[in-house]
Amino acid sequence: MTPRTPRAKATSASAQPSYDTESATLLPTATPIQLVDAEGNPSTAETGNLPLPDDAALVRAHELMVMGRRFNDQAGALVRQGRLAVYPSSHGQEACQVAAAMVLGDQDWLFPTYRDTVAAVSMGVDPVQILLLLAGDWHAGYDPYEFRCAPTATPLATQLVHAAGLAYAAKVKGEDKVVVAMCGDGATSEGDFHEALNFAAVFKCPVIFLIQNNEFAISVPLSRQTAAPSLAAKGVGYGMPGKRVDGNDVAALLAVMGEAADRARRGDGPTLIEAHTYRMQAHTNADDATRYRTAEEVEPWVARDPITRSEAHLRSRGLLDDAAVADLKQRAEEMAAEMRLGIGKDRDLDPAELFEHVFAKPTPQLLEQRAQLLDELAREEATK
């Protein structure tokens, strides 16, 4: 038998360049895209040739970040007062939270994680409702359809596949809908992260995957999650562009996310965005960050705070003054007061409701069990 004739070189040579060209366009920049530096000045770093978002957007983003920071701080205080069981804070990550919501229009959807409550609030979800689950209620607190915001997901990366599926539904129904799916660096190790990106790319779903790389998954550093050159570099493996962006520069985030949203709306499919940020606080109040990182490690990130940076930038351009800052502070305090009031009051939870929404119509077995519980409660009441 004669050996197989090797394929003509010309064929592979002609096929190769287009592949290389394509993968090159999908790769992220060597350094994160930044439009405004840590001091609030126009960046001299990689800008990805993206223009600065318009003034109104930057002012709006700043307002939402200030509200978001106050939300984070108030929720933390409510935990210490025993009013919330736990709170995973996005303190320091407010730029990502706000940008995720701001690039979405009236038809668009957000799929947040448990650390993305500020993003949900930026979508319009009531600050008290979003905390009800952590305050001990049995449900997610808000109507996902009203705010186009899925319930915050606790099992890591599972919601990314839902986001891809909802985007697919919009696509086949011919609806103009873009979906932002959020996750952290730890979640990129989950199988569902891979499956979500793969499905979204294969079916060209209008989704933006936003990874907030805050360098920690509870105690485990990024180096234990991946050996990839960057998380954004994973995009090329799925055939979608990967973008690296300064996660504490809200201007850059709005620009990069906006570009991805435009791409999704055009029908060109998903984008993977890695926002470089930092988890300034412990995983939750139940965590002790001193066991795995030093104060010296955290220190440099204080100077990179997204809100300080945004305020300096807006002030330098005359877009924010003392009066506006004071007004904003006042509004944030009003929201915090509402949170204290809403979460601080004892709510009566109806045990009978536990059986109501397991199925559209309770099964005979659930009706029996509900009757049993109500009977127990009635007897308990009678002996009081």
Partner: protein, 338 residues
């Protein structure tokens, strides 16, 4: 545009079809009536599924019956999003044991989204799972996995045993506002019956007495039903008159039909292929014991698979409930003439 057949007009005639054809017809009719019904899974498209249950549907409906990347958790999660986005997805899991990677999506989301959102988000989706053994299949292709799902609150679980039920239960599953798991009796895919699909059948949640009898009741479901009916035939020749209850739906459980059947005979054998320990058959036995104790003349017996990993083809006959094993159990029900 071709005119769509009006709702609920299957051909009004008796025909001989297989379980597989009935399932195929159910999906075809549902897709014809509702453009939001989509099918997704592995090899469900051009190939028509490894068992050919979706045969011809891609040809007829195009991308509404589509192949996905080979990733079961992804398929399940994608379907959740599709349902949230207004579609009615039907997921095919290729084999029982291949559904395990999707278990987190099923247990943590499919089953809980309605409750988590206080009823504001419902997931009208169907999960079709070919289950069970007796086909000479290798490892991971013969599991009876229904108890994982029946144990999870929020999941409706049906298990048809014949072509008519396969058609009507799948139609009901597609129409349900809740997620429904259809345990498809793999071994019976090719079994035929004369049916008139235009005749309505009892809906989800209703068991059926498929054979009247006065001496003892066999409670069973899915692909154990024909085995139980055969056992009843043999028992008849031996002088015992066995009643057979086909559960049809596992969740919600039809306590009323089962308990009244048991009360009428006073003796019960529960038959299922799944490993018996901590299984759905055990749930049935426990319910009968709790609710019918005073009607019982003997302890409830279970005939199930052994508590071993599903055995290889040459040994599976020892594992599966057989006519003899069912009759032995019936014989042990403390008869007065013994």
């Amino acid at each position: 545009m071709t005119p769509m057949p009006s709702a609920g007009t299957p051909s009004p005639r008796v025909e001989k079809i297989t379980v597989m054809q009935a399932l195929n017809r159910a999906m075809r009719d549902a897709m014809t009536q509702d453009e939001n019904v989509h099918i997704l899974g592995e090899d469900v498209g051009t190939l028509g599924g490894v068992f050919r249950v979706t045969d011809g549907l891609t040809k007829e409906f195009g991308e509404r019956c589509f192949d996905t990347p080979l990733a079961e958790s992804g398929i399940m999660g994608f379907a959740i999003g599709m349902a949230m986005g207004g579609l009615r997805p039907i997921v095919e899991m290729q084999f029982d044991a291949f559904a395990y990677p999707a278990f987190e999506q099923i247990a943590s989301h499919v089953a809980k989204v309605r409750n988590r959102t206080k009823g504001q988000v419902s997931l009208p989706m169907v999960i079709r799972i070919p289950y069970g053994g007796g086909i000479g299949g290798v490892e991971h292709h013969c599991d009876s996995s229904e108890s994982y799902y029946t144990h999870t609150p929020g999941l409706t679980v049906v298990a048809p045993s014949n072509p008519a039920d396969a058609y009507h239960l799948l139609r009901a599953a597609i129409a349900s506002p809740d997620p429904v798991i259809v345990m498809e009796p793999k071994r019976l895919y090719w079994s035929k019956a004369e049916v008139d699909l235009s005749r309505p059948r009892p809906g989800i949640g209703k068991a059926a007495i498929v054979r009247d009898g006065t001496d003892a009741t066999i409670v069973t479901y899915g692909q154990s039903v024909p085995v139980a009916l055969e056992a009843a035939e043999v028992a008849k020749r031996e002088g015992r008159d066995l009643q057979v209850v086909d559960l049809r739906t596992l969740v919600p459980f039809d306590d009323a039909t089962v308990m009244s059947a048991v009360a009428s005979t006073g003796r019960v054998v529960v038959v299922a292929e799944a490993q018996g320990f901590s299984s759905f058959a055990s749930e049935v036995a426990a319910r009968v014991g709790e609710r019918c104790f005073h009607s019982l003349a003997a302890p409830v017996r279970r005939v199930t698979g052994f508590d071993i990993p599903y055995p290889p083809p040459k040994l599976e006959k020892h594992h599966l409930p057989t006519v003899d094993r069912i009759l032995d159990a019936v014989d042990s029900l403390q008869w007065e003439d013994q």
